[in-house]
Amino acid sequence: MSKHQQQPASFLERLIFNNRPAVILLCLLISVFLFFQASQVRPQTSFEKMIPLGHPYIQKMLEHRNDLANLGNTVRISVEAVDGDIFSKEYMETLRLINDEAFYIPGVDRSGLKSLWSPSVRWTEVTEEGFAGGEVIPQTYDGSSESLEELRSNILKSGQIGRLVGNNFKSSIVDLPLLESYADPEDQSKQIPLDYQKFSHELEEKVRDKYQAQNPNVKIHIIGFAKKVGDLIDGLIGVALFFAVAIAITFVLLLWFTHCFKSTLAVVVATLIAVVWQLGLLHTLGFGLDPYSMLVPFLVFAIGISHGVQKINGIAMASGEATDSLSAARMAFRQLFIPGLVALLSDAVGFITLLLIDIGVIRELAIGASMGVAVIILTNLILLPVMISYIGISKKAVQISREDAVKEHPFWRFISNCAHPMVAPISVVVAVIALAGGVWYGQNLKIGDLDQGAPELHPDSRYNLDNDFVIRNYSTSSDVLVIMVKTAPEGCSTYQTLSAMDELMWKMENTDGVQSAISMVTVSRQVIKGMNEGNLKWETLSRNQDMLNNSIARADGLYNGDCSVAPVLVFLTDHKAETLTRAVQVAEDFAKENNKEGLEFILAAGNAGIEAATNEVIAASETTMLIAVYAAVSIMCLLTFRSLAATLCVILPLVLTSVLGNALMAYMGIGVKVATLPVIALGVGIGVDYGIYIYSRLETYLRQGLSLQDAYYETLKSTGKAVLFTGVCLAIGVATWIFSTIKFQADMGLMLTFMFLWNMIGAIWLLPALARFLINPEKLRNKA
């Protein structure tokens, strides 16, 4: 029989199998401790972890964070009148109730709440005596048609059209600034941090559901960072349900594969232990579950199952020869521990390369996934065989395995033709054409997010539909690039500064993809016009410093306390990478030409600024990461097989998968972004498993003197089923993600499913074809 099985027991094997009760007990203790830890893992999303903290834009943004107070955390509730316009008694009443209801939602900064019903929302008018003004909804308002007419005229004079009131008068907004933490209503001395999920649910129940039911003529749209995060956390919890689905499907498949309930249960239990350990370690190390690291338990489960399957397969085959379940387990351990270890280590090394990307969530994903893989070494390579050694494998399964070993398999016989001297060249040519096609089509691949609205959520999610409604009906977009203008203290209101800002704004507004720009200049021009009796001919900056100083007095939040930093807010039509790059480039050029002593234009803040920085980091990391991950797995293969040819046989199919993966992303309109970048490393890291398992068997049979095709047939007969099963298992584990309400999770799920399946196909189909050209069976036989 094969050489491996005759090898003497290694020290490790003796250590484990001579102390089986100790191994079980130890694992049990660890499990209890880590289960307790894992139960405390909470979903969390941290803004700072999702952005590249090392990028100069982000550093500048954080540096000036306190100067940019107005770009804060607000939620906007847009109340739409489905029929007619806002000038109806019923509509205004519903708006008032919503205004009052929102006022009492914990976390709302009540002093900043703004709607048509707020006394702070006023109209102004130039009269013979100067400015006149009043509340938009006067004290005398009674819902009569006269007061509604007065309301209409007040709104026209208030300058709120496009801001609090929709451009078509069919909706108006309740603006809720939020507090990051607020005083506990029970105990005023305690501060409660804002719970985004709870807040988001309260908006749904107390505002949307309640008032849409109460007044069927209104439709409520809610947008804002807090709402988005609330929806994301909901989506995150939804994904947890997929885990149960993945377990159920896997269980059924495993049962079909092993024909043995006992070992199926053993594999699933061992793998779930790995998941619990991974989650427990995550919490022990102080991490939480974010929408990205949520992927890790799925991956750990899938990888664990696939290694468990290899083990069960090995034990079942060994059972045919061994006398009892213990020696069968020992035999399988001896045979599979090293390839399993190598495969898992390559996974881990592949994941570790993700640390190269300077974005917190990706690094945590890398750490979590590496940790999870390390845990699988303990649970599925050590604990699982020990468990099986006690419970054994059902007679039927052993019987089937024994029959399989001797009977002819037409399917595998057919597949073994991949190694046929006539078929192999065709396969290679096809692969080269596919590679060339993939490279050509992959050129369409874009960096960044490609859809409108909140990229984290699906374009047709309620949040994005709401967001779309607000963008269409109001004069602001949700993609804001902020350029900070820095001067000496008290220097922000000089004519020189303001006119330079004005010029920058006009330059930005004339850039493709820019909707509008606002800054203190916008306010200044309006106020100067107002000071000149509303005459449009004065709606421009004045060279008179007193006039400028007066004019910016009302521009609250558009400059900082000592008038040394003023933001220019540039509203973009979308956040596609080209739009961002174009806008950022124009701003950078302007800064380069106009920066001087005492007047600096600094990029960048705002969500578009952050996305621009993220895109730059991703574009820069993509190649580095690809090189690193391929270098890492190549070195692992070289160390294992000590052969360049063998390494090429394993790696080249992976390259094809990566290239086709890029083409698929281009085709599906998925950009390279924080969510999809790790997929490449994960895909390559895990995909290398198949190659390693197949090649190590193939080599064994070649050393025994079989021809390439016969050796490949034997390989497929013994491990092909397990490889096929592994691919399907991995794919199922991540495929459930395609149904996530979180867009980037769905993208990740789709890409990983493709990578896992295609890597398997590549290994089975292309590896033997490459071996036909690269491996000389004669030489291997001689070495043996």
Binding site: E128, E533, E539, V586, E593
Partner: protein, 362 residues
């Protein structure tokens, strides 16, 4: 009689201005230096355009110019010329369907434009600027600029009697005259009894009578000898008047301003009659009125804030009131060859039916 201060025109100087910076900041040199940046290759066109605009004092050519704030419009036969924010001057030869941006040597806001014939016109604006064109508004030269005068306070209106003789009025009582087509501009503010230096908002011709000027806090002046001597009048209104318009009747004039105030005089401003303006729901019009014009059929149109368009077919005795749906404030109006209106103001140019309604709405 005191000698008026003669200010040399800067026309000769301007030619130099437009060339020197262009040499110093050669667009090609700039483009070359930028080419080093790899990412720029994809965006070559945008930076090149930016580079050529940079370093010059010319207004930036912009596709958005027809939709940005515009303040006055003149109709010269087939062509329309409009001026506004950021030194934008645009002209259209197809009744406002498409606009060409003129080459203009300023980035400052321009407030008024006046053409005496198909080719000769003047525009005035902030920084006390006067620009002139001799080719129907396609190109402009700077005739006058004064950053010292009240820190560059704006000129607000311009009127020419013929190609040589014209007047400019502006903020803080500015009144200037030229007798040589703008080669020299003379400050003649002391001919007017405007000791408080009220802003002078508009200067117009009254048929067979002379010139008329209105301004801040309702001040008004008339000159029966076409600008040589000015008589201060007691106005009917203490609020500011933004515009004035002569009618087809000798001596008849309309003045208008803040909060929907419009007055008519049949005797060159000696006596006044308030014209009541009522909105669709019968409340008094409260929007400021900015500018007006006579149409070919003899009717009169006045525009103002809140999308207000007034129309009179009886030489200004009665007006119908329309408030356009978009409520954008209007600053200027002219009639087009086809009888439709061209309105300018917030949101740039709007073409409208003779009633002021959007053409699309009909």
């Amino acid at each position: 009689m005191s000698e008026p201060v003669v200010r040399r025109t800067q026309a000769g100087h301007v030619v130099g201005l437009s060339h020197t910076p262009a040499l110093r900041h050669s667009p090609i040199a700039k483009a070359l230096s930028l080419c080093g940046v790899l990412s720029m290759l994809m965006l070559a066109s945008a930076p090149l355009q930016a580079a050529s605009d940079e370093g010059s004092k010319f207004s930036i050519t912009s596709a958005k110019a027809p939709h940005s704030l515009l303040l006055d419009v003149a109709s010269l036969g087939k062509r329309l010329v409009t001026v506004g924010d950021r030194g934008h001057i645009l002209y259209s030869d197809d009744n406002g369907a498409s606009w060409v941006q003129a080459k203009v040597p300023t980035k400052q806001m321009l407030t008024a434009v006046f053409f005496i014939d198909d080719s000769h016109g003047w525009a005035v604006g902030h920084d006390a600027q006067i620009l002139a064109s001799t080719d129907g508004g396609a190109t402009w030269v700077k005739q006058f600029e004064d950053l010292e005068r009240e820190e560059g306070a704006p000129f607000l209106d311009v009127w020419f009697k013929d190609r040589n003789n014209g007047f400019v009025v502006g903020a803080y009582g500015a009144l200037l005259e030229t007798t040589d087509g703008g080669a020299n501009w003379v400050d003649i503010g002391d001919r007017m009894g405007n000791e408080d230096l009220y802003h002078l908002n508009a200067i117009v011709e009254v048929k067979d009578s002379g010139l008329f000027v209105v301004g801040e806090q309702g001040v008004m002046f008339r000159s029966p000898d076409w600008g040589q001597t000015w008589e201060t009048l007691e106005g009917p209104y203490e609020g500011s008047l933004f515009g004035a318009l002569g009618t087809d009747e000798a001596g008849a004039i309309l003045v208008y301003g803040l909060r929907g105030h419009l007055f008519r005089s049949a005797d060159f401003g000696t006596t006044w009659q308030a014209i009541s303006l009522n909105t669709a729901n019968n409340g008094p019009l409260e929007f400021g009125l900015a500018d007006g014009n006579r149409l070919a059929d003899g009717s009169i149109v006045v525009v103002g804030h809140g999308g207000t368009v007034l129309k009179s077919t009886d030489n200004g005795r009665n007006f119908s009131v329309t408030n356009r749906a978009d409520r954008l404030s209007l600053a200027g109006v002219a009639a087009m060859e086809n009888g439709n209106l061209i309105l300018v103001g917030q949101g740039g140019v709007h073409t409208a039916a003779p009633t002021g309604a959007d053409l699309g709405q009909q």
